[in-house]
């Protein structure tokens, strides 16, 4: 369980990290919390020649709200999100998602940016950022660009990040008005990853659904927005029947994963049941 040899550089700023990445290109990997990368390096699935540590860049670790937007720096740890009073107040979906993630030690070290950039098909954060219709801000040699969450996850372990780019921030509009959110998950008993995880972000007006964001992880090679569910909710009274009808669209058009733990068919079934539960919980919390 010893990785291959590599050179280690701790970047002090985002600019320094970008220039190191530009210099070493494919030979380098960025090190954030390391809780996806280091296990892969120990198995020698990843063998970078240079490791650029960006976890100590102070300006990449923050949670703030300004001008109606919530901004979270990419090196913010899962624990910082779990314990954020600001987020508990204005977007409880994120702290709730964090409590489902790994364990105490992993949450102390792992970062939201690292997890999103790794894009594990069973990771928890992708579901939440999809439900929030977040933008992923990346910095690159040619400046910055913002990528919508549903365009960011491209395929299994593949994102829209290009060579030389660094995930800098996650941002989304502060949920306004009467909001109900929830994250529910079928946890793999050994790994703790999501067999199925459903994140819901509802805005409610007079008992009717004004807008809905539903993100689902664990089911397909990449996390996705369940737009069929969202459409079935939009403008409708949020009663048990609407939620059931909507949840039936949870895996529309999705090629579900089959593995030793769960068949594709079983995952689709779980996706529907857990979407219904997540919606029910979100509606009961809407106030």
């Amino acid at each position: 369980m010893i990785p291959t040899q590599f050179e280690y550089v701790a970047a002090k700023s985002l600019d320094e990290a970008l220039s190191l990445l530009g210099k070493h290109k494919d030979d380098a990997k960025l090190l954030a919390g390391g809780h996806s990368l280091i296990p892969a390096m120990k198995l020698r699935l990843a063998q970078p020649q240079v490791l650029i540590d960006i976890s100590r860049i102070k300006d990449l670790s923050y949670i703030r709200e300004e001008k109606g937007q919530v901004r979270i720096g990419s090196m913010t740890t899962h624990y910082q999100i779990e314990s954020s009073d600001l987020l508990r107040r204005i977007c409880p979906l994120l702290p709730e998602t964090a409590t489902h993630l790994g364990d105490v030690q992993v949450r102390n070290k792992g970062t939201i940016g690292g997890s999103l950039a790794h894009s594990d098909p069973a990771a928890d954060w992708p579901a939440a950022v999809l439900a929030l219709d977040a933008e992923i801000v990346v910095a690159g040699p040619k400046g910055e660009r913002a990528i919508k969450a549903d365009k960011f996850f491209v395929d299994l372990l593949t994102t829209a990040l290009e060579q030389g780019e660094i995930l800098r921030e996650v941002r989304f509009n502060t949920p306004q008005g009467t909001v109900g959110q929830s994250y529910v998950k079928v946890r793999h008993p050994a790994s703790g990853f999501a067999v199925v995880g459903v994140a819901v972000n509802l805005s409610v007006n007079g008992g009717k659904c004004q807008s809905a964001g539903v993100g689902i992880t664990g089911v397909a090679p990449k996390a996705y927005r369940a737009s069929g569910v969202e459409k079935a909710l939009q403008g409708n009274a949020l009663d048990a029947k609407t939620l059931s009808v909507a949840a039936a669209h949870a895996s529309d058009g999705v090629d579900a994963n089959t593995d030793l733990f769960a068949s594709g068919e079983y995952r689709r079934h779980l996706a529907e049941v857990y979407t219904r539960r997540a919606l029910g919980t979100a509606v009961s919390r809407a106030k």
Partner: protein
């Protein structure tokens, strides 16, 4: 190529050169002879290697020693202040929160973190907090009792201090 690091472990400053690929757990055990931190699964699942880095419980098998330049580390050897056992250690002793003892150092380090964040946890909160620490002997019952006992000891201590 070796890299210079400066790490304070249990209050003692250590300067040394490490290969970047050296894991923290190997640095603690092999370079500093602090063998109280155990190597269990080596895949960041079992928690036997848990130590505190700058006050945060982390799995030392999933960190490189070079990442810790300038950091403060507490291992199981450094938990007892001035030779007096930490309340969590006393709790594990009194309630026999172990059988073989292999997971115990990691359990104690994580439990200390849980109680620092939540001085009055329910049994369920303790179990949730210890999800990253596996014990294959006890069935966890005595471990939860040990942590509850430590919580009571810590509370009565703060009450006395006031």
């Amino acid at each position: 190529m070796k890299t210079k690091i400066n790490v304070t472990v249990n209050g003692v400053s250590h300067q040394g050169e490490v290969e970047p690929r050296m894991l923290l757990v190997h640095y603690l055990r092999d370079a500093l002879n602090l063998t109280g931190t155990h190597i269990g699964c080596e895949t960041s699942l079992c928690g036997a290697c848990t130590v505190l880095v700058d006050g945060l419980a982390v799995k030392s098998c999933t960190l490189f020693a070079v990442q810790l330049d300038g950091s403060k580390v507490t291992t199981i050897e450094g938990l007892a202040a001035e030779g007096k056992l930490h309340p969590v250690q006393e709790g594990f002793w009194e309630h026999h929160g172990l059988q073989c003892g292999y997971c115990t150092p990691g359990m104690i380090m994580t439990a200390a973190q849980i109680l620092e964040r939540n001085p009055d946890p329910s049994d369920e909160e303790i179990r949730h907090g210890l999800e990253g620490n596996l014990c294959r002997c006890t069935g966890y019952q005595h471990i939860v009792q040990a942590v509850q006992c430590a919580a009571k000891k810590m509370k009565s201590k703060t009450a006395v201090a006031r």
